[in-house]
């Protein structure tokens, strides 16, 4: 029956084992459960399926979905259709990695520990930060925890977040702050960019963290020169959310003066999986290391003097510090961090730069073509990386319906998040899109009324 082959005990085994335990029956092993809370009927679940039947069932569910192989996607908003080298699944598919857990026993966990140490290093190389952790759940929770970190470091309880930060992240951030009793205010935007004159008015010596995103939710590269000075003048922390795949070409957060860098790492070789598992990136300057949430791998030596790695600075963590821990995070996204590490190691500096350049070039090409169409216009003036917002002549929903008929996943409708931006869509163009695919999109848009 079904998955009973995952259970090696035979009835004979069970009888022998009960005898050793010194009880008569299986029921005796559950006699500690009070009668009034015992389930007195069978679980009402569908009958067990064999492996073959289960695979058929799951395939039939998967067949009802469209996906990035069956469609040409221009969807982004934090999750992107980038090229994923084949090597990644072969590495993350090694069961010595994926069936292990948090490396509490370093002597038999050097593989994952070294991989995390290397991942941390590459995240530092990308961002210019001094330290990175082994991962957070996703971009949203990384932003929230980054903002909370700023509060911990400054012993203040207020944060300012730009409205140009992803609304998905701000929703999570708001929730974390609300629950903890921390104060959160939104910095208004002006024509797609953070309104820094408003930030200047809003910031004071109560503010712990200022949270910005680069490129911002609309795909625009913000001019952040001088912002860090403003933030630091008030002894607050600058928290920057970034797309790691923009960093081979865009100015590193460290060069803007960021203190804490967070972001969504899905672009680094991770399938979108309907929004999870994703990869929360978390890095910081070394003075924030005691506030960092989550696991950190550190270098040390073994009893013979050889280099080795362990989980370190654990006195920040829940299993040691309990209610005084910097975060409650325990399980994280280690295997996804491994995927990102394999991606960065495979692509190297040249490959990652090439990907980033192609994104920028193809997005620019699409932007030019689309905004040249009748009725379509750029929502904002500025410089985009791989994503841009366009005002469209009708309901985004209807447009996407039409595109879907041609197996195109169109842009993300942003009006639900910015009611003032009616009929505005966010298009993402990655290195995977060909000129022909972009031209097809443009043709479909052209005919649309």
């Amino acid at each position: 029956m079904g998955g009973n082959h995952y259970l090696p005990l035979t009835d004979e085994d069970r009888r022998e084992m009960l005898k050793v335990i010194g009880v008569d029956s299986i029921d005796d092993l559950f006699s500690d459960i009070p009668a009034e809370v015992r389930l007195k009927r069978d679980l009402d679940l569908p009958p067990a399926m064999s492996e073959l039947e289960a695979v058929k069932h799951l395939n039939s569910l998967a067949a009802k979905n469209k996906h990035l192989n069956s469609c040409t996607s221009f969807m982004g908003a934090g999750v992107y259709d980038h090229f994923i080298p084949s090597v990644i699944k072969h590495i993350t598919g090694r069961s010595e990695f994926y069936t292990s857990y948090t490396p509490y026993q370093p002597e038999i966990s050097q593989g994952i520990l070294q991989a995390i140490f290397e991942y941390q290093t590459m995240i530092c190389q990308l961002t210019g930060m001094d330290v990175a952790n082994a991962s957070m759940y996703d971009g949203g929770t990384a932003v929230a925890e980054g903002a909370v970190m700023g509060c911990g470091a400054t012993r203040r309880s207020k944060a300012l977040v730009s409205k140009s930060v992803s609304p998905f992240y701000r929703a999570v951030l708001k929730n974390y702050f609300n629950s903890r009793g921390l104060e959160l205010e939104e910095i208004p935007i002006k024509e797609g960019f953070t309104d820094f004159s408003k930030l200047e008015e809003m910031i004071d010596d109560q503010v712990a963290s200022v949270i910005l995103q680069q490129p911002n939710f609309f795909g625009l590269v913000e001019d952040l020169d001088g912002v860090a000075d403003l933030v630091h003048n008030h002894k607050a922390a600058l928290v920057m959310s970034v797309d790691p795949l923009s960093l081979p070409v865009l100015k590193a957060p460290a060069d803007y003066g960021a203190d804490i860098v967070v972001g969504e790492g899905q672009a680094l070789g991770v399938p979108p999986s309907f929004g999870g598992p994703l990869l929360g990136i978390m890095a910081a300057r070394s003075k924030f290391v005691r506030q960092l949430p989550g696991r950190i791998a550190g270098e040390t030596v073994d009893s013979e003097g050889n280099r080795g790695f362990v989980l370190t600075l654990q006195t920040r963590e829940q299993h040691i510090r309990r209610e005084k821990a910097s975060s409650n995070i325990c399980s994280n996204e280690a295997l996804v961090a491994l995927a990102a590490a394999v991606y960065m190691a495979s692509m190297g500096p040249q490959g990652m730069r090439e990907v980033a350049e192609q994104c920028a070039q193809k997005a620019a090409y699409a932007f030019e073509k689309i905004t040249a169409l009748d009725g379509f216009e750029a929502a904002f003036k500025g410089h985009n990386f791989k994503e841009f917002a366009v005002k469209v002549p009708g309901k985004p929903e209807d447009l996407n319906q039409k595109l879907l008929q041609k197996d195109i996943l169109g842009g993300v409708d942003i009006a639900p998040f910015y009611p003032e931006l009616e009929q505005t869509m966010l298009f993402a163009v990655t290195e995977k899109r060909t000129r022909e695919e972009i031209d097809t999109l443009v043709r479909e848009l052209e005919g649309w009324k």
């Binding site: 289960a54 469209k66 990695f97 909370v148 399938p271």
Partner: protein, 485 residues
């Protein structure tokens, strides 16, 4: 001879390449034409430059320096390191699941929504709760979500003075850490001599400032809270709610349900109970289930069905909002769903039967040599105290290293805190009797070795790829990244 493995950064050559990309087919524009210079990267990115073969060999060698459930017995208490069925990996990798974008129109994700919908029905039945959200990405994330829901419930009733959450001493570290994250104060409750939560102590502290009691049942001692019914009554009578940490659900599936015990909120660790792999530390998934009166506060969106169509329901005005950017770790839920489909109700009950049988059997074997406090029927795990061995010169941590030399992953050490020199042992449902017998023999051998030469045991391990690692040094002078000389 043991040898360290080279780092990625110590390998490769400038100009070496491990990828291929199509050439750009749109009119080329230089970056400088597209973006102002001041927005561009100032110094070239430093990353290793490796061929594909080097990358593969590097990580393959690293994988041989790692121990997973597929390598051997992994009785890491509280973590439920059971076998991870291979077919689960296959179905989760189907393009129709793995390659879906979270912003796709609803009609293009009907299969995914159906899966979420079905899974919710299954989890409801398994736990006796009324609704579930799949949004939390792990157990601790579920805890935070659960406390946020409880907080919203109290606040919405105008009940603003409940600023404390009660936690037993045996609680996992994530519980008190979560309480702080939700802005509450932790009140710790002692255990009684049977290992249960001390009911009298609970009665003394619970009052109109109590928001909730967080409980793991069976507890981290592997013991079922025998007075759970009375505890639930005490908590509810004070107007507080009962939170269930479902990390240990593997012990009672089909035997008892948190919903029937009086719990108002539960989280499950489906990377434990429902067989999805732990990934070297994650990803997991921590669905949260609630009773009827708490449904309005769940994160948005919920998944619902109208006639034949599945849809996201955002219409929850009192919802706490969101805890993850999208809908949780869908890819992990797919694996767990496949597992539930294959096990069925009777199969899941057999899982718990065998988990508990294995645990009691192994405890009986070890009891001949080791001290196991709280002598009663156990659930899926038990905690050995190596206090006597520690006196001889080798404690829980040293026994753990000696187990490494014998090819076993050790139990969880030094937790729960109320047992000195704890070795928290969870054998799981997917282990054979022979494996348990082998492990018991290894533990007996280690006990003998400690008797003979404790110092030698304390200096292990001897047969692992690396010798014992200096954790003190790592913490004292942290090296957290590689740096060019």
């Amino acid at each position: 001879m043991r040898k360290a493995k080279a780092l990625l950064f110590e390998m490769g050559r400038p100009g070496r390449q491990g990828y291929s990309l199509p050439s750009n087919d749109v009119p080329e524009k230089s970056l400088e034409e597209l973006l102002p210079k001041k927005m561009l990267r100032q110094e070239p990115l430093e990353l290793p430059e490796l061929s594909e073969v080097e990358v593969i060999r590097h990580y393959t060698e690293l994988s041989t320096r790692n121990f997973g459930v597929d390598t051997g017995f992994y009785p890491l208490g509280s973590c439920t390191m059971k076998y991870n069925p291979k077919v689960n990996e296959d179905v989760a990798a189907l393009p129709g699941f793995a390659l879906m974008h979270p912003c796709q129109p609803e009609e293009t994700v009907q299969g995914a929504l159906e899966l979420y919908y079905n899974m919710e029905q299954h989890l409801k039945e398994l736990t006796g709760m009324d609704r579930f959200t799949m949004q939390p990405s792990a157990g601790a994330h579920g805890e935070l979500t659960g406390l946020m829901v409880i907080q919203a419930y109290h606040r919405n009733r105008g009940d603003h003075d409940r600023n404390k959450v009660l936690i037993p001493v045996t609680a996992h570290g994530t519980n008190p850490a979560t309480v702080t994250m939700a802005g509450y104060e932790v009140i710790q409750i002692p255990a009684d001599e049977r290992g249960n939560v001390d009911l009298e102590a609970l009665k003394e502290v619970v009052d109109e400032t109590t928001s909730a009691l967080m409980l793991t049942n069976p507890s981290t001692l592997g013991l079922f809270e025998e007075e759970i019914v009375e505890m639930a009554k005490v908590v509810h009578d004070a107007g507080a709610l009962l939170y269930y940490d479902g990390a240990n659900l593997n012990a009672i599936m089909g035997y008892a349900r948190p919903g029937d015990m009086g719990f108002d909120v539960v989280h499950l660790n489906i990377h434990k109970t429902l067989s999805t792999p732990h990934g070297g530390g994650g990803p997991g998934s921590g669905p949260v289930g609630v009773k009827e009166r708490l449904i309005p506060y769940l994160p948005v969106p919920l998944v619902d069905k109208k006639e034949d169509r599945f849809y996201f329901d955002y219409d929850l005005p009192d919802s706490i909002g969101k805890v993850q950017s999208f809908y949780g770790n869908f890819g992990v839920v797919v694996k767990a769903y496949n597992y539930v489909c294959m096990m069925g109700g009777a199969g899941l009950k057999q899982v718990s039967t065998d988990a508990v049988l294995n645990s009691n059997y192994l405890a009986s074997l070890l009891q001949k040599t080791y001290f196991i406090p709280y002598d009663r029927i156990r659930k899926h795990e038990f905690v050995v105290s190596a206090k006597p061995e520690k006196k001889k010169g080798a404690g829980a941590g040293d026994i753990a290293k000696a187990l490494l030399d014998r090819g076993f992953h050790p139990p969880t050490v030094y937790f729960p805190l109320i047992v000195d020199e704890a070795l928290m042992t969870e054998p799981n449902d997917t282990e054979s009797k022979e494996t348990l017998d082998d492990y018991a023999r290894a533990m007996e051998e280690i006990a003998r070795d400690i008797e003979e030469d404790a110092e030698k045991v304390a200096a292990g391990p001897y047969h692992t790829v690396g010798g014992r690692l200096d954790e003190v040094r790592a913490a004292r002078s942290p090296v957290l990244r590689w740096q060019k000389e």
